[in-house]
Amino acid sequence: MPDALLELEDVHADIGRHHVLQGVSLVVRRDRVTVLLGRNGAGKTTTMRTIVGLVPPAGGVIRYDGQPIGGRRPHEIVRRGIGYVPEGQGIFATLTVDENLRVAMHDPAAGAARLPAVLDLFPDLARLRAARAGALSGGQKQMLAIARALVNDNRLLLVDEPSKGLAPIVVDHLVAALAAMKARVTVLLVEQNFAMAQALGDDFYLIDDGRTVARGAMSDLARDEALKRRYLGV
């Protein structure tokens, strides 16, 4: 596909003795939000971790911007322009908010120049820069995790279940922040909250038992009650 930024073709991956991914294929198109859906344990998080190299692919092809990246080490992969916001945020609780942002910068000077624009998106963080990240609320931690992915000149963001464990009102803030980012960056989003997925997503992929089982436009999925019931239980 000519406008593909990220492509997975029949990707397999094992965790220990479990064959978790058994043929995931998907295409993330430039300047769009692609949502990865599936039940708990379907392999969504493992797909994300395989893309950034934390889980080595056991088969298949992963291409970023036309180049194969499968089998490379995580720091090499993300430096090509991928920002990863893991499930559970992965913030450094013992560091300050400011230190969390600085440790994420690939190029400290360029990162510092981008920081004001990033903090404009998340006014809470601007106020709390000197605070220890471990003392933040769940929503603020999620904002910090996303902000951390924005301090570099990333072209692709991988965001894993950002709404998990957050109060509904906080989720609304998050949707607004992610919607504002949509204009500048391509996103692959894993999200169990169907309303949020629907609000943000352009395209969707559905995976089940480690395989891609359906794909299409998000607007079509919203109408397909049978598919939603079968794979998502909604």
Partner: protein
């Protein structure tokens, strides 16, 4: 508990013996205790990085300490043969040559540290039992190599004239070498604090210790940083070895293993990963040892163990330990 409380407790422990001895004796013992504490801190400082920060139970730390002592010993012997520096009365020349020997020792320590980390520690990150077994094995190999190269017997460390004897300050006799040791210890402490708190490398290391995987996906080669930290810790062990060799005026293959227990006690008392905690812990151990050795010689060694037990009973994470 405030950050100042551990310092207050340490000060109280240091001042308490004043009730049982006259001021002159106390000052002399206290200077000796501070010097011993600083020497222990040098051993413990490297272990703070490796055990405290990286959570690697590195029993080879003692062997790296011995290797540093022997490397420094050889450098000093060769330098002495070339310039007969042990005879010079100039303190400046002595210190400069001492710094050169320390640099040689630290380079050897760092190089060995890289080998130990790459070859035997890297496969066992996160597995304490394997770490203990394999680093104990490395200790045996490294000590035997020392015996092969330098022989099994103690060697006499050349101690320069300018560092022998004592200064008399305000009627108090102060041995010279301990004063140098205190200076070196403070220098190492300052450099470590600066590096960890103020530099980008320090920031990445602190983040990597909390969550190494996340640091990788933020674009940093965490393994390279860990090798670097391990090398730095090993270089500090080697520096401790040279200083200890000068202090005891001899080197032997098992000297590191003998000091390792003190280093572990200090790192645990201070709180895992805290450089400041290790400094204070080492000073408390050094002072208690000297004060008690004067008042009740037979209890001197036991008092450190007792100290560790009491501190851990009151504060299980150590003096400066976090909630990790």
């Amino acid at each position: 508990m405030s950050r100042l409380a551990p310092w207050a407790v340490a000060a109280a422990l240091a001042l308490a013996p004043l009730a049982l001895m006259d001021l002159h004796t106390w000052v002399t013992l206290t200077v000796a205790g501070l010097a011993m504490g600083m020497l222990i801190f040098l051993v413990a400082a490297g272990l703070t990085l490796i055990f405290g920060l990286m959570d690697v139970l590195n029993f080879a730390h003692g062997a790296l300490f011995s290797w540093g002592a022997y490397a420094g010993f050889t450098a000093l012997v060769l330098l002495n043969r070339a310039w007969a520096w042990a005879e010079t009365p100039s303190l400046a020349v002595t210190v400069a040559l001492l710094a050169l020997a320390a640099a040689v020792a630290m380079a050897v320590g760092a190089a060995l540290g890289v080998v130990v980390e790459r070859v035997i520690v890297r496969p066992v990150y996160g597995q304490h039992l394997f770490q203990i077994l394999i680093t104990l094995g490395a200790t045996i190999v490294l000590e035997e190599l020392l015996r092969i190269v330098w022989g099994p017997n103690d060697q006499v460390m050349p101690v320069p004239l300018a560092l022998q004897g004592s200064w008399e300050i305000l009627d108090v006799i102060v041995l010279r070498f301990p004063v140098i040791a205190i200076g070196v210890g403070l220098l190492v402490y300052g450099a470590m604090q600066l590096l960890l708190a103020r530099t980008r490398v320090g920031l990445i290391v602190r983040a990597g210790v909390e969550n190494g995987e996340m640091v990788q996906v933020l674009g940093h080669d965490v393994l390279r940083y860990f090798t670097g930290v391990f090398a730095a810790g090993s270089a500090l062990a080697a520096l401790g070895g040279v200083m200890w060799g000068m202090f005891s005026q001899s080197v032997r293959p098992t000297m590191g293993a003998e000091q390792l227990i003190f280093a572990f006690i200090v790192v645990i008392i201070g709180g895992l990963g805290s450089v400041t905690g290790s400094l204070l812990g080492a000073l408390v151990v050094g002072l208690s040892y000297n004060h008690v050795a004067f008042l009740l010689p037979k209890a001197a060694i036991g008092v450190n163990m007792a100290l560790m037990v009491v501190i851990l009973l009151i504060r299980p994470t150590g003096l400066f330990g976090g909630a990790r």
